[in-house]
Symmetry: C2
Subunit: 323 residues, 2 copies
Amino acid sequence: MATMKDVAELAGVSLGTVSRVINKAQGIKPQTLDKVNVAIEKLNYIPDQYARGMKLNRTNTIALIVPTIWHPFFGEFAYHVEQELSRLDYKMLLCNSAGPEKEAEYIKMLQQNKVDGIIAITYSSIEEFLSSGIPFVSFDRVFPGMDIAYVASDNKVGAEIAAKTLIEKGCTHFGFVGAHNETENETKKRRQYFEKTIVDAGYKISILDEVEPVPNLKEKIRKFLIANPTIDGIFTINDFAALDVIEVAEDLGIKVPEDLQIIGYDGIKMAMERQYVVSTIKQPLEEMSKKAVELILDIIDDKEHTRQYLIPGYYVEGKTTKK
Amino acid sequence: MATMKDVAELAGVSLGTVSRVINKAQGIKPQTLDKVNVAIEKLNYIPDQYARGMKLNRTNTIALIVPTIWHPFFGEFAYHVEQELSRLDYKMLLCNSAGPEKEAEYIKMLQQNKVDGIIAITYSSIEEFLSSGIPFVSFDRVFPGMDIAYVASDNKVGAEIAAKTLIEKGCTHFGFVGAHNETENETKKRRQYFEKTIVDAGYKISILDEVEPVPNLKEKIRKFLIANPTIDGIFTINDFAALDVIEVAEDLGIKVPEDLQIIGYDGIKMAMERQYVVSTIKQPLEEMSKKAVELILDIIDDKEHTRQYLIPGYYVEGKTTKK
DNA sequence: CTGTTAGCGCGTTCAG
DNA sequence: CTGAACGCGCTAACAG
């Protein structure tokens, strides 16, 4: 590896001059600039970002913490974040938190490594992130009252769209299928506002809302569908739950979407070029990812912008609703 | 951020001593060790990995390059790699190569950043990796004759298992559905040995093997199935192709698996806890990932082990074959 | 067993 | 406009 020193020698200038060229400083004599550039080219010199980072306290690296990358929602999210980051000449350190204990470890690791900031989907306690003083953006979870920057989808609007869509498509007895955990959670609005919209419109609604973890959700769904044979429109907490409902329905001889229409949430696909797996409320992940990146960089640069973004999703028609 | 100097002062020892404590050196007086540890605790001191990396030329970071993380196969792979890496106290830099040009950029970036090594699934030219001199492990692609470390699945064995399984399950007219590109490619063995096994067994086989990119694979499959109505067993180049075959078959009123049995390749799921989407030849990604990590670390440490691993997959029964 | 010191590769004064 | 010198936080070699 060639170093700045080598370049300086070859170009017949001093270290400082080379540094200035690298950093595109003003007022360098075109001639010297040329000499240096030639030397850089010749030696195939590449500045060492870490030596540099040590001085500047900047590493141009952002950490992304997700529960697991092996999941289409997080996979898509990570994809967009990385694309955006790389466009801006940043790198992405990826962490599967896979539980609260590993998250804490990661924070420590990230401090050591001086990543410039963290974007995280975390469902565990956030205090450690705050106290660490590292620029931090929360994704998909809001922290009411706390001064934490976040980007999340507007679950209220999404739930309302789901309800209205099912009503438009002629359903009369509605169901909600989901699971939740104890933490105060933005996703609870999916049930809350779906229920409210249906009730306000004067329709009947039945709820299946288990507490996580749910070992045998399908069995629960089975009983739920049997107990409520008139249900003809279901909104689920996410697309995976919708897939479960489909399987159970098929098993019970209930035809989707003829007898039962289903709308999920998230908008997952198996891969970018594939179809959506169910009719769904799509979270605009590309837009959200870009916003999250913009936010974290603004925070790093101390440009204070709006720090909280709630972005609405939109309905995507799949094969689980009537045309 | 506290530094080593602060710790040394507070503990009343010198920098070197603190360094020794951090690095768990032998032969430190228990008393001093204690003093230092207390000071570290008190100051909440965390060593700066980058300053350290500058000395050691080690960053404890591995880059993983995949075409796109938004894909269940690469998602699972990245998941396992990260898990293993994190277990060994390494971090993972994730890169979506999304085409050859970005790959080259990444190599440069990675040199700058002194990642200790690269694990890559790359279908473009490999020369740049080699010339860069960075420890490198190729995944899912072998380089015959070249001294490149790789981990890949044994496509020959997989294809043979697929053929034998379909034969066992009573098929008599076989089909292969796939696509390939011009690069010399290990995955071509999937077709090659499937075909050979079927022919050797004395059965009839029909082939649909397009050149990538294939804009309308489903239409091609449709024509293929119509032209070959007696096909009752199909092996596809990967699980996505199998999904396409299923959709077309359903559309044509062909029942899967009653009329047509299908075996894919890869063993993708939508997420860890989900089912396999089709009967398939599963690539043992967890094992392969661990091996890839082991390999890259061995190369970094100059421990010369076997540098080429071909790991056989195994048959997984899904819903596209008879019991 | 511990303190001292010389860099690692770079950015940034501060003089010229 | 440019060069020399210092220091970022740390490790390693060498003294003591």
